[in-house]
Each structure stands twice: as C-alpha cells, then as structure tokens.
Symmetry: D4
Amino acid sequence: MEREQIRALLASVQRGETELDEALEDLARPPFVDTGDGRVDLHRALRMGLPEIIYGPGKTPEQIVQIVRALREHGQSALATRIDPDPAAQVLAVLPEGEYIADARLLWFGPAEVPVQGRGTIAVVCAGTSDLPVAREAAEVARRFGNKVEMLVDVGVAGLHRLLASTEVIRSAQVLIVVAGMEGALPSVVGGLVDKPVIAVPTSVGYGASLGGVAALLGMLNSCASNVAVVNIDNGFGAATVATLINRS
Amino acid sequence: MEREQIRALLASVQRGETELDEALEDLARPPFVDTGDGRVDLHRALRMGLPEIIYGPGKTPEQIVQIVRALREHGQSALATRIDPDPAAQVLAVLPEGEYIADARLLWFGPAEVPVQGRGTIAVVCAGTSDLPVAREAAEVARRFGNKVEMLVDVGVAGLHRLLASTEVIRSAQVLIVVAGMEGALPSVVGGLVDKPVIAVPTSVGYGASLGGVAALLGMLNSCASNVAVVNIDNGFGAATVATLINRS
Amino acid sequence: MEREQIRALLASVQRGETELDEALEDLARPPFVDTGDGRVDLHRALRMGLPEIIYGPGKTPEQIVQIVRALREHGQSALATRIDPDPAAQVLAVLPEGEYIADARLLWFGPAEVPVQGRGTIAVVCAGTSDLPVAREAAEVARRFGNKVEMLVDVGVAGLHRLLASTEVIRSAQVLIVVAGMEGALPSVVGGLVDKPVIAVPTSVGYGASLGGVAALLGMLNSCASNVAVVNIDNGFGAATVATLINRS
Amino acid sequence: MEREQIRALLASVQRGETELDEALEDLARPPFVDTGDGRVDLHRALRMGLPEIIYGPGKTPEQIVQIVRALREHGQSALATRIDPDPAAQVLAVLPEGEYIADARLLWFGPAEVPVQGRGTIAVVCAGTSDLPVAREAAEVARRFGNKVEMLVDVGVAGLHRLLASTEVIRSAQVLIVVAGMEGALPSVVGGLVDKPVIAVPTSVGYGASLGGVAALLGMLNSCASNVAVVNIDNGFGAATVATLINRS
Amino acid sequence: MEREQIRALLASVQRGETELDEALEDLARPPFVDTGDGRVDLHRALRMGLPEIIYGPGKTPEQIVQIVRALREHGQSALATRIDPDPAAQVLAVLPEGEYIADARLLWFGPAEVPVQGRGTIAVVCAGTSDLPVAREAAEVARRFGNKVEMLVDVGVAGLHRLLASTEVIRSAQVLIVVAGMEGALPSVVGGLVDKPVIAVPTSVGYGASLGGVAALLGMLNSCASNVAVVNIDNGFGAATVATLINRS
Amino acid sequence: MEREQIRALLASVQRGETELDEALEDLARPPFVDTGDGRVDLHRALRMGLPEIIYGPGKTPEQIVQIVRALREHGQSALATRIDPDPAAQVLAVLPEGEYIADARLLWFGPAEVPVQGRGTIAVVCAGTSDLPVAREAAEVARRFGNKVEMLVDVGVAGLHRLLASTEVIRSAQVLIVVAGMEGALPSVVGGLVDKPVIAVPTSVGYGASLGGVAALLGMLNSCASNVAVVNIDNGFGAATVATLINRS
Amino acid sequence: MEREQIRALLASVQRGETELDEALEDLARPPFVDTGDGRVDLHRALRMGLPEIIYGPGKTPEQIVQIVRALREHGQSALATRIDPDPAAQVLAVLPEGEYIADARLLWFGPAEVPVQGRGTIAVVCAGTSDLPVAREAAEVARRFGNKVEMLVDVGVAGLHRLLASTEVIRSAQVLIVVAGMEGALPSVVGGLVDKPVIAVPTSVGYGASLGGVAALLGMLNSCASNVAVVNIDNGFGAATVATLINRS
Amino acid sequence: MEREQIRALLASVQRGETELDEALEDLARPPFVDTGDGRVDLHRALRMGLPEIIYGPGKTPEQIVQIVRALREHGQSALATRIDPDPAAQVLAVLPEGEYIADARLLWFGPAEVPVQGRGTIAVVCAGTSDLPVAREAAEVARRFGNKVEMLVDVGVAGLHRLLASTEVIRSAQVLIVVAGMEGALPSVVGGLVDKPVIAVPTSVGYGASLGGVAALLGMLNSCASNVAVVNIDNGFGAATVATLINRS
C-alpha cells in the first residue's frame, strides 16, 4: 500500500468514515489468493500491466489448473511457460478456453488478440535455426504482452552478409532481443550496429565445451558492445518481459 | 563407551563380579547389526533420540528391507529417504506396516502419531510451488522427529507482500527452514526478519545458469544475513535433523 | 553506409556529379582513425549519441593519450574506465583538461556539465557500502551520458525496512540499476517492487564461496523477478550504457 | 512496525490523540541512520539482541568510523570483521575506546566483559593449527555475543585419538562450531559423536585441489552426518551468530 | 561484394549500361535463400569450395529437408552432421538420393566419389576403439571434402609401441587429426613426433573426472607440443574442415 | 625391445646367424594384433603379469567379442569392465566360456580360480551400502588379479565405532582400497589408523553439491592423511590394479 | 632413428664395417644434452626446422643461460618465451648476443634477419589494444620462424566496419591468427570471411565473468565458423608455431 | 590402545597389580603433547616409522618452533613443508640444529644421514625443468624417509626419445613418482612402460587453461594407464609418503 493510500485511509479513520478494524484489515490484507499449494499474486500483474506468469517445471497439471483458475476468476490473463505437450493437454482438458503454442511451449489464457502498446517494435534476432524455440518463446510472449514484434532468423556471425542484409529491421527496432547458442557472439555484433538496448539470450544449443549454454552466457556477459544486458540461458520469457517494459516506459 | 561406563566396568572386574573375558567383550562389542551388505547402527539413533535414517539411492529394495528389519527387531523406528514409488511398493509388499509419503518420497516405519517434543515450532518456508517436494521432505521428517511444524508456501522474494503478510508465523518459530531454488534469496530476507537460526535449503529448481541448484546454494552461502546456515541442495531431510536438534536442545 | 546514402551516391555518379574514384573512396573509407596501436572509432559514439569509451586495463598511459587525442581532435568527448590513480595522473600530466573521478576510477574528457536528456531518472540502488565503487561508476557514467541520476545506498535485503523506506525513489525511476555483491538478491526484491526494467550489476564484494562475484552473478541470472537483465561482474559502466539507451529511447 | 503497534497507533489517531501527519511519519519512519555512504541499521541488532556487525572489506577506515560513531551515539555495541592491522590502527586513532583482537582480525566497541547468556556452552573445534584464525574469529565473536566458549585445537581426522581424547568437551556442548580446511572431514566425524547441531566452517587452508576452500565446503555440504549445517568459507563470524541464536533460543 | 566488383558495377552505372535501381539491387542482394525457418547460405560453401554443412541437433527432419532442397536446387552438395538413424530415415524418405553414414552420423547429398584435391594426406589418429565414432566423423567428412585420408586406430599412449609401430603413416601426412578421450595425451605425443600441424579433437569418452570430455580438452589446450591446435569436444567435423583448408592452402 | 635383446640380435646378425631383413622385422614388429577396429596389446598384460583389460563403454558387443577372441587365441585372460547385463548377454551368447559378475559389471574370461600371489591381503573398505558396486568392482578385479581380498562394508565416518570395531582387518592389510561417496572422508580416517598405502576411490554416490562425485574426489585429494593416493571417480578397477602391483612388488 | 637409418646401420654391422658396440651406442644414444637440470632437445628443432623454444616461467635465469648455451654450442637458435624484463636483463648480462623483445616478452638468440620461408603471409588479427602483447608474441615468433607477417589491430566485432575495411589483408593471408579477449567473438567473424584456416588465441583480457580468459576460450571452441582451431589462453607462441607449419607445409 | 594391550591391562587390574585409577588413566591418556596452539601427535610417526610432518602454511615461525621442540624433546625427527626462506631463517635462528633445503622448501630436524630402508629404489620422473621444485620436494622427503632415490628430469612427452633413453632407470624402480604440469600426460606414458605402481603428482606449472594445475590433475585422474594413482597438485611430500610405504611394505 502506497503512502498516499495510507494517508487517505488514515484521514478516513480520523473522520470516522472508516472503522478501525476495517482499516486494520486493509492495511494488513494480503494481495494474493491462497490455493493451498501456492499464493497466487493478483497485484504483480496489475502493477506491471502484464498477465501473471506461471513457471511450469515442477508443477503438476492440477497445480497449474488451480493457479489459472484463481487468476481467471479475478479477471486476469495467465501465461504458463515451459509446458510440454502432455501436461498442456491435461490442463486444456479441464480449461479448454486456453491456447497451447507448441513451438514456444507456452499455454495462454487471455484474449486471442492483445492490443498493441508501446512506442515501437521489438526485434527478435535469432542466430540459428536450432535456436528457434527460445526465440519463439520470446516473440510469442512479447506479442501477448502487447508488443509489435519482428523476427529475424538464421543470421549467425559466421555468415555476416545474412545479418547485414537486414540492418533495416535491426536499426528500426525500439529494443532488440538477440538469441544465440554456441559462442553467443551475435549480441556483440548486433549491439555494435544499433543505438538501442540489446537483451541477449544465450541458448543451450551446442555440445561439448558449450557446457549447456554456459559458453554463450559468458560470451554475452563479456560483450565488448556495452549496450548489451543478459538473461538466463534459454530464458526467452525473461527477455520478452524486460523488452516489453523498455518498449512501454 | 563413555568414561563412567568404563570406570564401572573396571570396578566390577576388580571386585571379581565380572569375568575378564566378559569385560573384554563389552569393551569391544560393536554397537551395530551386520546384515551382510551393511552395518545397521543401533546406537546413533538412540544417542540422538531420533529414528535411524536410510539413504535410499543406490540401495535395492531387498537391502532396504534387510536394514528396516534389523532396526524393527531392535524396536527402533526407521525412515528411508528419496524412495521412488516403485521401490516403495516393493518394500511395502514385504513390510506392509510401513507408510509411504509420496509427495515427500519418504518411507516410514514407526508410530502413526509421534509425540511432540521440543520447545517450539519449526517453520518451513518455501519460495515457490515448484520447491514443494523438498519443503515437504523437510516438514514430514520434522514431524516424524516429534516437532510441531508450520508451513508457508509460495512466498518468493519477487512478491514481498506475500511473505510480509505472514510475518507472525515466521517470527513465532523457534527455528526456520527456508527452501528456495533459482537465486535462493529467500533465506536472506527471512533471516533479516527474525532473531532465530535459519536453516537454508537450496533446491535444484531452475534451469540454465541455476546449474542444478548450485546458484541457489552459492547465494545462500553468501547470505548477508548472518543467522543463516546451509545444507546440501534438495536436502530437506538434513535441514529437518538440524532444526530438530536446535528445537530440542 | 546506409541504403539511402548509397542510392544518393549512385545517383550522383550517374548524373556525373561525382567521380567514380571519389565514389569508390566514399564507399570504402574507414570511419576511424588509426593511431598505430589502435583504430579509434569515430562513428560509434556519434551513432549512439554517446562519448567514446576507452577500456583502461592493459593499455599504457601513452596509448590512452593517443586515443583521447584522436577523439578530441574530432571534437568528441572521451571516457576512460578502470583507471588507477597513477596512470590517471600520467595521462592528466599530458592532457590537463581531463577530470579524474577517483572513487569511480573514471577519466573524463568532455564538458563539466552534460545537459540532461532522456525521459526520466535512472535510480542506482546499491546493496552495501562495500559495493559503492561499482555503483559510483554506474552513476558517474550515467550522469556524463546526460541522465538525471538518483542514488540509494546500503539497502541490502537482510534489512528490508531500509529499502522499503525508499520505495518512492525506486518507483519513480524510469529504469533502475541495482548493484549488489555476496548473494546478489537485491535485484530480485527491487524487481518485484517496480514495473520498470532493472539492470542488475553483480559485484566482486564477498569472499570464499562468492567466487569473485560469480555467486552474485548467478543469483541475478536466476532472478525470480522477470524484469531483471544482467551485466558482467563490477560492470557499472555497461549498466549505465544500457540504462541510458532505455531512458532515451 | 508490528500489527499490534499499528492497531495502537490507529486507535490513537481515532481518539484524536495523535495527529494524522505524526502518525504518517511514524508509519513511514526509517529505523536507521543515514551516514551518507551507508544506512546504519539500529533495529536489527536490538531485534536480535546482538551488537551490530560491520563487514570490513571494501570500506575505508573513515567509513568504519562513521558507522561505529552512529551506533555508539545510539548506545549500541559494534563489531567490525576482517580488519587488517593498518586500518584497525587508523580507526582506533580516532576512536581509542575500541579493542583490536589481532589474531581474529576483529575490532570491538563495547563492554570489556559481556555477560554470559544462553543455556550452554559453544564448543569451537578446530582441525589444524593453520585453521586457528578462523576458529578464533568464531570464538571471539561468540564470546562478545555473550556465550560461554570452549575451544579444541588440532584434532584433525588423520589422528583420531586426539579428538577421541576430548569427547567430554564435545559431548557437553549445547552447539558445536567445527572449523576445518583441506578435505573438511572433521564435521562429519564430530557430527557422528554428538546429538547436538554442528555448524561447519570450511577454511581456505590448503593448496591445489583445495580450490581456496571449495573442497572443504563441498565436503561439509555432503556430510553423511545429518546434523551438520554449513556457512561460507572462512566465515567464523557467521557460525558464531547462528550458534549464538541456537544457544539462546 | 568485393572492391573490384564494386568498381566494375560503378563504371557500368557511369557508362549508363546498368540502371541505378538494378545496381542498387546488386549491391544489396542477399546471397542466401530464405526458407522461412532459416537463411541458407549459398556463398559460404562456394567461397570455401566446400559443401554447405547443416548442424543437425535442434532441427526437425522437415527443416533439414527444406535446407537440403534449397541447396540442391542451387546445385550444391550438402552434409548434415550429428543425425541419428530415425531422423535420417525420415529425411531420406523424402530425399532418397542422399546417403546415411551411420557410424559417423552423417547425411550426405553429393557425388558418390569426391575427386581428391589437396597436396597430401590427412592422417586421422584415434586413441581408443571407444573414440571411433568421432574419428570416423572426421575421416568421412574429410573424404567428402576431397581429401586423401589415412586412419590409425587404438594407439593410445599407455601402449606406446602401437603408436611407434606406425610412425611412417604419421610422418608422411600433410596434416594430422588426433582424436582422444580420457586424459587426451595422444596429441602431445604425436605432436612431438612430426613437423606438421596437429588438430586435436577431445572426445567425451571417459567417466567421473573426465567431466564429459573437459579433462581431455584441457589436456590438449595445455599440450607441451606447440604444434597442436584444438577444436571442441567430439567435433570431428570441425577438425576435418580445418585440416582440409590446411591441406588445400 | 630391451637393450639386451638388441645386443643379442645384433650379435646374431654379426655372426651371420640372422638375416638382415629378419632382424629388421624383429626390430620393427608390432607387439599387438590388429582387429580392424582396434589394436589388441599382447605384451602389456604379459609385462605386468595381469590379464588384459577391455574398457567397455563405447564398444559394441561385436568389438568386445573381437578383442576377447584375439586375446584368447594368444592364450591370455581378458576382463571387460563396465558392462551392462544386455551387452554382457550378447557377448556370452558368442563366447559362452566367460563369466558375468553382475554386481561388479565385469565380464571375465579366464580360470575360475586364480592362484593367489602377492605378499599380503588387500582390504577393500567401503563407506556405505550405496557404494557397494564400486567396491565390488575393486574386490572382484583384485581377486582375478590373484590377490587375497578382505572386504569391510558400511563403515562411514559418521558412525566411527563401526570402523573402530574392525581395526584388526584394517591394520593387517598390506594395502587398502577405501571407497566412499558424498564427502569422501573415510580415506583420511583410515589413513590415520594404518601405516600402509591407501588407494582412495571416490564414488558418484550423493546428490546436489556432490557434483557427481567431484566433492568426494576433491576431499580425497586434499586428505590430511599423507598416505593416501587417489584414482578417478567410480574407478574400482584402477584401484585394484595399483593395489595389486603394490601387493606384488 | 628412422627405419632406413636402422637398415643402413645393420648392413654396416653385417659387412663388419661397424663394430657391434658402436652400433649399440648409435641405436641407444640420446639425442639431447643433459645440463643437470634439464635435457636440451637437439633434434626437435632440427626436425621441425624451427629454433628450440624455452618456456620461461619457473626457470631461473641461470637455468635459461645453461639451456641457451647448450643450444648455441650446437649451432642452434633459441627463443625463450614469457620472460620479464628483470630475468631478461640477467640472462643478457651473461649472453649479450641475445635480443630482448620487451612488448612480446621474448628473448631471442639467432640471426637478426631470419630469411622468409613459407608459401604466403600470416595475418595476425587483434581485437583490441589491450590484446596487443599476445598478438605481438604471435607476430614476433612467426617472424623469427621465417614467416611474412601482417598485423591488424583493434578490429573488435562491436565496430564491424573497422574489420570490414581491411578484408583485403584478411583474405590474402595463407593462414590467420586471431587474438581476442572478453567474449572472443572475432575468430567466428573472421572465419566466416575467409577460406583459410584460422588459429584462434583467447586472451586473459577482461574481468569478472571473463574468468581469466576462459570465457573467450569457450567462445572460440564453440565457434559457429568451422575453420577455427584454438590454442591455450594467451598462447601467442603456440599459434605462431601451428601457423608456421601450415604456411610451410 | 590395541586389544591385546587392553587384555593385559585388565588382567593386571584383576590381579590387583594395577590400581583402578591408574588403569583408567592409561585407557584414557592422549598420545600427544598439547602446545597450546596444537596437539603434537607423538604416535602417528612412530606407528608409521616416519618422522612427524608439519604443514607450514598458515603457521607462524613461533608455532613451528613449538611443535618441533615438542617432537625433539620426545626424540623424534621433524620435517616442515612449504617453508619460505624468511620463516625458515626465523625458525633456524631459534633451533640452529635444523637444515633448510631451499629448492624443496623443506626444514629438516633429524639425522644428516638417514639409513636406507625399503626393498628398492624410488624413481622421481620430472616432465620439465619448471616442475623441478615439486620433484625435489618429493625426492628430498623420500630420502629423509630412508629411501634410495633416482631422479630423471626434463623428459616430457613431446620429446619421447629423452624418456625412452632412460627406460632402464624407469624399469628398475620399485615404485615411481611422476611429476608433470601442463597437460600432465607423462604418468600415462610412464605407466605404460612399467609394471610397478606410479604415483602421479600434477604441478601448477602452466597458464591459462591449466587452471592452476587442475588440467594436469584431471589428465592424471583419467589416465588410460591403470597403474596410476594421483595426489594433490604440487604435493611432492604426499607422493613421497605413499611411495615410501609401498617401498617398505
């Protein structure tokens, strides 16, 4: 509860318009719904103007259904990430109004068309075809967060002309999400071509010394382009959130 | 054998009440039962006042049955950890008096109701729904060790109000077990809110740079709250043991 | 050279207004000055609207003087990072118009007052007094990049009330830079309190299992607050660049 | 501010005994002193009944003086950790009432004799002579936190009889701090001998594959004795805090 | 487009032989085919004189078919790496002209016999039978890149006479690919026996402290033979490419 | 070929008893059999007086059959390690004279009873029941290498009395193999009790911070008992070889 | 000794032209000089046609003098690497005919002008000014190995136009050495521009997550350009050796 | 106290020849001397027949003097490891009868000539001149433990003929200590040449990816020669202890 809200509440108590115990409740009321196995946050989403996100792994379909229901009952959209086809089908069997976006492993409960907000476009730039699932998670989340999204695929640094052929797309974006596995060099190259913030997403694409994406992650953290910030390996969703807030702010 | 016991035995020998060879046996007798594949400790549990624990992984159902039998024959309770449903069923087929607590992966051989000991309550605070299996291992073990347990779920640090809404639970505990994956920040925040010892349990919940729970583990070891001590990743059982001894001491 | 510039140049050649060799030169001319030991980029800064940055470590004072001179001769500002007092004094002995900002280890060649640009304020939030040098690098760079900056110090998560007492500062910022060592939990907590992008800077403050800042870095990458993106350990400068571009875009 | 305090304040506002703005101040007042470079927490110490701790590294002597002064002005004790002789001398030159405990690298501002609290004794068990500085930090902090402390030195596991000769000390303690470098095996052995909680402190003593104490840390985290919890490498102070709270609770 | 090509194009525009827009197209045309999910590079292969390579993992059989088709339509050969039998069969069902080389996990679309180029022989030296799949990937790729290849198997350093019995093969090669897992010592020994460049390929053969091939990788990077350069773990294909370019240059 | 053998051969050439080309062959003949996929060493085993060992992983049953046949044809025993039941059955279907020792995952081709050699006994000391498979690999290999073996199981350091009850076994051995997972502390304790060499075998038993056995490995390498040497994680076979050579030498 | 030499020697013994003991000596004579602390290899250099290399660290100036003397007495050149100014001066005080190349930390004993061998040019491409010392080690070694060398400095990937402005240099080289720290992305970009082998040298330039050059090393090992092979961090000398052998072969 | 000693003592008590309290003392007496900062073990050395070892780092010269004195007063020899010249001089100023072996950093208090024990020779094989300090620690300790020692230096695997020229030394040893840094391949090669146990000592010689000796350590642990066991990085002393016990047993 913000300072101004506290002031208003206190004034109301002082004026006798609000009962003491009622005010006490208001000052102490938890802004969430308890589902037994979880506390569904009803304010975070509203505060950010974003649908609530459910991190899928480690949750049973039943738990996901519980959380989605609690959110839908309060009129909120919900987006579950990293959902495999089987649990997705189990959830949709109970809540058939949802949409499963298979190649991004997302489960969406909300309007089919999300109105576009934000000052510009988010460009999702993807190094290789094998990085596509992560890039798609980023793009699909960004769209459901109300952004205009452009996608550029298979523009890895070992064939620079493919990237240089698309500099218009890159340079016209308000913010860029750059997705790459292996050595993770693409954000450095893209970062050097634009004057906008670049959110880099390392992927676990690679083998051996890629160490499950750690090589790409380290590469991006050490980028010699200083307009690059990084999120966790394969975290397309996080990149989309940061990019959305940049695009809106 | 303790000093006082040695003195008594020696005096008895001196008085001729105990035969030399008998005394020798007593001084050398192993306080365990040999089952062929293992030496079941009969004293550790008694010494601590706790049931004996069987670490499940790498043991066959047959070996678990052997150990439980040896313990039950000596009148002791037994608790096996990290038991999957299949081997659990195999053990229970032979020893049907046991109880399988599926969501904590525990196999329990002992009284249905364990009398409460200890000066206060153990609070088990769990960051997210995905961390629940570890938190439940901690809570279920703590209950079978005779503690009063309170559980608080889904109070991660990115939605502080969920935690702050439950400060009473937190502040009234005698000792706290705080379970968190990903960045493992919850023990620091909880540690700053209480004047009691906090046992932090990192979980393997996360992906990419979570490195199987190592990120959460490192976070907890570096906690800026100095009342935090840490156990191994996913080690709800260990946290319950330490908390039990604190609660009893 | 952009598509439109190429078109104009080609048209000019076609009209005979530009000589073939002149056009060739224009199409091939390198947009940098070669100082022997380096190629000073004259366009990157202009492109981004930022002063050129010189990464200090591994460069001799002579090399820094060369680069600064090349930039100053082309009318550009220059900012050298990670400069210790001794080499700073050597550079300033040759180029006395510079300013050394000791507690941020920066060497600045540009206007004493940089006019404020950008839509809002950058909040630099710093976990502990020991993290101050990194936070100051971020703040001083951000100021020289034309931002309004607010700083909040010593608001680590183990004493939440210190942070909660300053939520106004945090919530009114356009973008936040959060600096923390040890377990690096502060960005998660701050991220949960705001609806703006958070640029997290892990610091090397800590010992033992902090592994030179790797623990804080991992913590931030695994943040359960999804509006957090991360830069390299102790990289206050990088965070300031990203935050500036967000603030301006 | 606790629920009951809020209720009292609201009642007072309702009764007209407290002005609205005054109540607002009370609800919003930060419980710390701002020294410019830091926010000295005045409540944490009181809340825990412990002196406030100042983490030394990365702070200038001037900053330490500022913080100690703020604390002393509010009547609180202060303990600074990891202070080398030179900065210690600089601080004591300004604040001569302090005491420097060189072999524990502590700077203490408080009563020469701290009254003993707590139900029992803290045993500090130290594997080798080279681990002594960390063990002494633990012991000296524990004494200044009001505990009775017993110390056992050079009882490493490769010479078990040295440890077994002191089982009385070990078994009579309320809580044990076990300090070891190299392979860090001592907490497992001690943990198997007692029915009390063991706080294990890995040290950076060792070379090569000790990886600066990481080997000992990992050893302790994987202890087959389940009554062991661990703090950061060389963190004698943290172990003392946890042990104190256990001893008091 | 190279400098000389630009000059010719500009001259043609100047002479009025080429239209402005046509020239613009030429200057901007992307040298690749867009298949929707990828941008198939048509120039890289030609530039190197090598068939285009498709990195298999993370690509669906459909995507591989798309890419191969695009390449074949432009008259180019294609080689897909790390293809398991199942997806290989799916691709061959659509494009039956291909060849699956099972023990090297390669899918080849090109002439059955590739004419030999290059000045000499590539020797593929393989430490143990378990390293064969990687060695075969190297050999089969090298053959399809037009090299003469000799293979030497099971000549690990613990039985030196097996290696020393084949020094002729080793010493007559133009360039050597040395494949080894476990401690990865073979490249050092081979490197000391020849005056040619050695491309070392660590394999993931081993267990425990081999850390998935990292031990072998580190061993090779630290080789005391200075004529050794290293590629990624299990990267037989990369070694074959480097060796081919050496053999041809 | 040894110096004395060369001298004899040269003398024979000088005396005209050996033809030049024959001598050349002898000097150059490889002491192995080439099976196509491998070079079976026929001398190493003879040289050491040990059966030849076949490292199973990465080899097909066919390759194992080839190697065993080559060895058997030259009258040698063979021992294949890390063989799972399925491939074992496939090999035994072709070579039914072999023996599969399932709980040690060994495949043995040699005499049912190997005559005992060596000056004393090898004690295999095993920390926990879960470490048994590795301990059994060590014991079964040692027996087939002609050693007298004694085994001690479930004597982990958290229950010292179980170990101390068996000091006779430990102290009468000529060399000890100590097998432990988790923190790997047992070799340090055993090493302190004996005046014989201790070969420590870390196992991958454990979870979380055990890092697949790396914690135990590091613990053993940092042992404060200086009579401890270490082999790779889960390498019971290697420990048996070293112990055999010690016992024989 | 090679097969043909053995045949000749045997024939000579057979003809009675060589005495048995003399032949024995020849067959057994070590091709090195023993200096007490080392065995100076006199054949390796001759075999490769390269001067002998002395690895400096861990050797005293006296030991270096011994080795250089032994080599010079046999008419060979010598090159010592990683020599700091102080030991260099000590060596030159005794052996004044040497040359110290300070910015490459090399000590050279050989002709002032080494005649150029090899089919083409080695291009040394260096990402940043801070990487210069490593690039210079590569270039200076390559020159003393008889190569024509071209150097390109400060062409990091965040300012692509600097690199693209020099594609002629890059494309005309026979082999390329690419030196880069931080994220180490330059070899991938250069590798995509040329059809020649690229030897990548990661440097320890960077901080924090660069982990002393490991980030750059991993980046290069995971390069998506398949014509890249890698040497150890900061190993300019090794890259020069490999490149020399490629250029000569 | 052994079983037979207990029996004798009990019999004596039974016969009335020993007083109860005297027997109690005997059963409980610690076999060490307490110096305040340490417990000097007087039995371990006797038990092993070796002088007591003092691990130098982290101990003050005063502490070393205390320990040496306690040992000398009980007639035992003492050997302190890893002692730098300065503290060595400080210790020798107080205890001038000691000997400082500078190039092995050992401080020795015992007979100038230690009589040779053991069945054979220990060969210390050292890869490079830079590894000499560790090899010398091994050799000097082994000599003071009463072994005959032979040393072979600078026989790294990249110049095999240097090693092969000394196979007699290698093959005639009873046990071998092999010391190597960088890739640590020498133990594998030596292990393949002998039928004796090989104790491998990795050294921290190297740079970059040698990771302070970890690369060599991993290489040795993964040795394809199965007669190799490993000690900690730079642990010449440990290798000497193990080799001594092998040589004696």
